[in-house]
């Protein structure tokens, strides 16, 4: 997030898109609901499903799946045409405005209405509302990023914020809500194929030299590695022979599961380190038991870049070991000593090679976490990014064209499928599935369909239905719900028994390599 969570309560307008906030980030949703209910903040919700936040929205736009660039460009079109943009900000702080203006020219509300299904008047009203606010914040989540055009979607939202000068102040910003507890930290720590910690590029020779010196090693690779979405398929081609998986369960969470399953069988050697015998662990040659969060010391970095302490509360079961200790044990056996007495020593080391964390210590975050960048010991942390300028000088406005989703509905597969989460379950359920109460509230997979579509296909609430895509099929219970929009069905991805990801498309965004979970074409038939 460019801004903090609490910041949201200071916004005059909040635009939420691609985030079922009340189910996926419930505590953040309370900030939004409080602002709307008690502080006069206006909410623009852009989401095809009738999610809970629709009850709080002043403007609710329901675009067809995969048409985000189109409606965002159309808002920008209206804002530029009606001269509602922040001319000073655009002039002083951005570049590329003319190209953007040219690009959005054709995205008139009428034209975009045809693509997105949003009435033109709603687009105009939303544009005026967003641009008219002194401070407007954008919140988005996987509904924006999990598309072949995910990177474009995010850049388009940034365009929208920048032309309205909605950056660098409390109550503004472009704020991705991170799904998993430490996604932010895993990225910050260089758990990515192209960067070391703090996004320092592996292709930059000066950086490589600096890290080599700091680690006292030589011969670090300066060739970017493969992202997970290419690593697993690389088992097929034989390019990857061995995979060491730490705390992940790709066998439920990855797109196009049937293909993943074959891939995992193809590795010469696979190690899985986890707290449970997950679906993925079953496939491993060696399984290593690790600690869960309640048994560990360390830090997590939340979605607002706040580095917070994790503290050991209980003893781990049996012979389980801390994740870093297991890795260090393998490292030592491969001839590279990693000796640390505790997590605190690791943290001290990582701050030496991570400029944005350099000023953070366990003592400083004992009571409350700090937001990175925090470059020095006396730096107060940075709750709001870009308050003075952008790291690369001027903010770049990107002229982005609309590309339809990779897979379109047709006669054979007439419905769109989108996937997502439900409140009571988490990810692949390896944790939530072990609290009976959560299972009682959300016991099994389901496919949510609109009343009109249910009637069209002759299906009833509670029916067991077969859902098929070009890649696979599953059987699940039908839930007829006002939440669903006509033409699109929704399935939560948590459940291994009826894994939505047997259906999803593994087509990737060309830049971020994020798979297109949110749109694929399916057909339904009764399974009774």
């Amino acid at each position: 997030m460019t801004n903090t969570i609490a910041d949201v309560e200071q916004a005059d307008v909040i635009l939420v898109t691609g985030s079922n906030t009340t189910e996926n980030h419930p505590v953040i949703s309370s900030f939004v609901k409080r602002a709307v209910s008690f502080k006069g903040t206006k909410l623009i919700l852009v989401d095809p499903r009738r999610i809970k936040l629709a009850d709080f929205a002043d403007k609710w736009l329901r675009p067809n799946p995969g048409t985000d660039v189109a409606w965002i460009n159309s808002l920008i079109h209206v804002i530029i045409k009606e001269e509602l943009y922040d001319k000073e900000f655009v002039e002083d702080r951005t570049q590329g405005f003319e190209a953007l203006k040219e690009m959005v020219e054709k995205f008139s509300p009428d034209y975009v209405s045809g693509i997105t299904g949003i009435p033109a008047a709603h687009i105009i009203e939303a544009a005026r509302l967003y641009a008219g606010a002194e401070k407007a914040a954008i919140l988005y989540c996987m509904g924006i990023t999990q598309h072949v055009s995910g990177t474009d979607n995010v850049k388009s939202l940034a365009n929208l914020a920048m032309i309205c000068g909605n950056l660098g102040m409390p109550g503004t910003g472009v704020n991705p809500l991170r799904g998993q507890n430490n996604v932010q930290g895993a990225c910050d720590m260089g758990g990515l194929p192209n960067v070391f910690t703090a996004y320092q590029k592996v292709t930059d020779d000066d950086i490589v030299k600096k890290i080599e010196k700091s680690w006292n090693v030589s011969g670090l690779s300066n060739k970017p590695g493969l992202p997970v979405t290419e690593m697993i398929p690389a088992a097929h081609s034989g390019d990857i022979k061995a995979l060491y998986i730490i705390g992940e369960n790709p066998l439920v969470s990855d797109p196009d599961l049937n293909h993943v399953e074959e891939s995992l069988d193809n590795f010469d050697f696979m190690v899985v380190q986890d707290i449970f015998m997950t679906e993925t662990a079953q496939k491993a040659d060696v399984v290593l038991p690790s600690f869960c969060f309640a048994e560990k010391d360390g830090t997590f970095t939340n979605t607002e870049r706040r580095v917070q302490r994790v503290r050991k509360a209980v003893t781990a079961p049996g012979a389980a070991r801390d994740d870093w200790r297991i890795i260090a044990g393998i490292s030592r056996r491969m001839g590279f000593a990693m000796e640390y007495a505790n997590a605190s020593e690791i943290f001290d080391e990582l701050t030496l090679v991570t400029p944005s964390y350099a000023g953070i210590t366990y003592e400083r975050i004992e009571e409350e976490g700090l937001h990175w960048p925090c470059p020095t010991a006396d730096h107060p942390g940075t709750p709001v990014l870009h308050s003075r300028g952008f790291p690369i000088g001027k903010g770049v406005l990107h002229a982005i064209d609309y590309i339809p989703p990779a897979e379109q509905v047709d006669d054979e597969y007439p419905l769109y499928l989108t996937t997502g989460r439900v409140l009571y379950q988490y990810h692949t359920r390896s944790m939530t599935g072990r609290t009976d109460g959560l299972n009682e509230r959300a016991p099994e997979s389901f496919v949510e369909i609109s009343p009109a579509d249910a009637e069209k296909y002759g299906l009833k609430d509670g029916d067991r239905v077969r859902i098929a895509s070009r890649r696979g099929e599953i059987v699940a219970r039908m839930t007829v719900s006002e939440k669903a929009v006509d033409g699109t069905v929704f399935i939560p991805f948590h459940y291994a028994e009826a894994a939505a990801n047997r259906l999803t498309n593994s087509a990737l965004d060309p830049v971020s390599k994020i798979p297109e979970y949110k749109v694929c074409a399916v057909k339904l038939s009764s399974a009774a």
């Binding site: 998986i245 730490i246 890795i327």
Partner: protein
């Protein structure tokens, strides 16, 4: 100078316009007891426990709802205040099954009759489940009163136990309204409110339905807000007493909000989770996963030993054997092919320290940049 000043118990304090008497007192560490007051919600003045004496005012005034005004002379523990508070507390104690031994007897029967009635209602032979962790009990002790001064009110509504997380015990509800504010003004889930009138008053979900059939999302904000034993975590009820536990502050391990939580630990097991009050980012709020989804920690299905697969079957192994095998195989593959034939998937679930070590190992030892995690997924 005297413009924005008040006198509390003989000392002068300045205040900011808009501050209540309670705000000024709290800021200056003067302890005015409260029951219904909930931080972040509009004060209601409902319970009358926080009353203070303001010179020249006709009545005692609730400190939580009375704005400080220049020149006010306030007494927080004067005889009139103490008499009023005692009666308020006695009435509350008499109003339900407050069997924490502060009640000795009453007009309708003996101590043991009362206890037996409560036990029948509770389906338990123990004293109140929040014994030792109750604002009302604390106040009764502080002002040395019991419930015997007033006849016990009859208990109207049965326990509600039909949802998996929260026990609603209407026999101990003092109708302070904190849960209603927590639900409507803090979480804004709008699931519960006051229902019925007068002596039939009850906190209800819409249509007086059980929580499980209402808009309730089981965030548990109301449980954390309830000052007495009327809302209790089902799992913690009668399994845990506050003096047996140790609290450890940590960060929730589910979503990216990173809520600050307190793990309540008894006998090396997590028995309950609450939101850490007063600190960012969540200021005490949690969701159902963070508050109630902790059973996995102590699950019997946890992996407890390294496992090696032989002929398609897993067998237990010692650490040395497992790690030797992993190191040997990774080295062999690296040497036979090349470093880029190895890959590591690190995790958005583990700590920064773990992730740092995972990428350092991948880069410095395996000598490849084939490392990623499921951030995208």
């Amino acid at each position: 100078m005297t413009e924005n000043q008040v006198t509390i118990n003989g000392n002068r304090f300045s205040f900011e316009p808009g501050e209540t008497i309670l705000d000024v007192a709290r800021r200056n560490s003067i302890d005015i007891p409260t029951l219904c007051h909930l931080k972040g919600a509009a004060p209601t003045g409902a319970c009358r426990v926080c009353v203070v004496e303001v010179e020249n005012a006709r009545n005692l005034l609730p400190a939580c709802a009375t704005p400080a005004q220049a020149g006010m002379v306030i007494h927080t523990e004067s005889p009139a205040v103490v008499t009023s508070r005692k009666m308020t507390i006695e009435l509350l104690l008499a109003s339900g099954n407050h069997n924490c031994a502060v009640r000795e007897s009453d007009d309708t029967g003996s101590f043991s009759d009362f206890q037996l009635r409560v036990q029948q209602y509770d389906h338990s032979d123990r004293l109140c489940p929040v014994w030792g962790d109750c604002r009302l009990q604390d106040l009764a002790y502080r002002y040395q009163v019991s419930g015997r001064a007033f006849p016990a009110t009859e208990v109207k509504y049965p326990l509600e136990t039909v949802n998996p997380f929260i026990v609603r015990d209407f026999s101990r509800c003092i109708l302070c309204g904190r849960c209603v504010q927590a639900c409507n003004e803090v979480q804004v889930n709008n699931a519960i409110n006051f229902g019925y009138r007068g002596k039939d008053s009850k906190i209800v979900a819409a249509g007086d339905r059980p929580l499980k059939d209402s808009d309730c999302v089981f965030c548990g904000e109301c449980v954390q807000a309830c000052p007495v034993g009327a809302l209790v975590e089902k799992d913690a009820k009668y399994r845990w007493r506050p003096w047996e536990e140790e609290k450890v502050r940590t960060t929730c391990s589910y979503c990216g909000v990173g809520c600050q939580i307190e793990l309540h630990v008894k006998d090396d097991k997590v028995v309950k989770v609450t939101g850490a009050e007063g600190v960012a980012p969540n200021y005490g709020s949690l969701c159902v996963k963070g508050r109630f989804g902790f059973k996995f920690i102590n699950s019997p299905e946890r992996l407890t030993s390294p496992m090696i697969k032989e002929n398609g079957e897993f067998r237990r192994a010692e650490w040395d054997e497992a790690l030797d095998l992993v190191a040997r195989r990774l080295s062999e593959i690296k040497d036979t092919y090349d470093p880029d034939s190895l890959g590591v998937l690190t995790s958005a679930r583990i700590t920064n320290e773990d992730n740092y070590i995972a990428q350092k190992f991948t880069r410095a030892v395996l000598k490849t940049n084939n490392i990623d995690h499921c951030a995208r997924l």
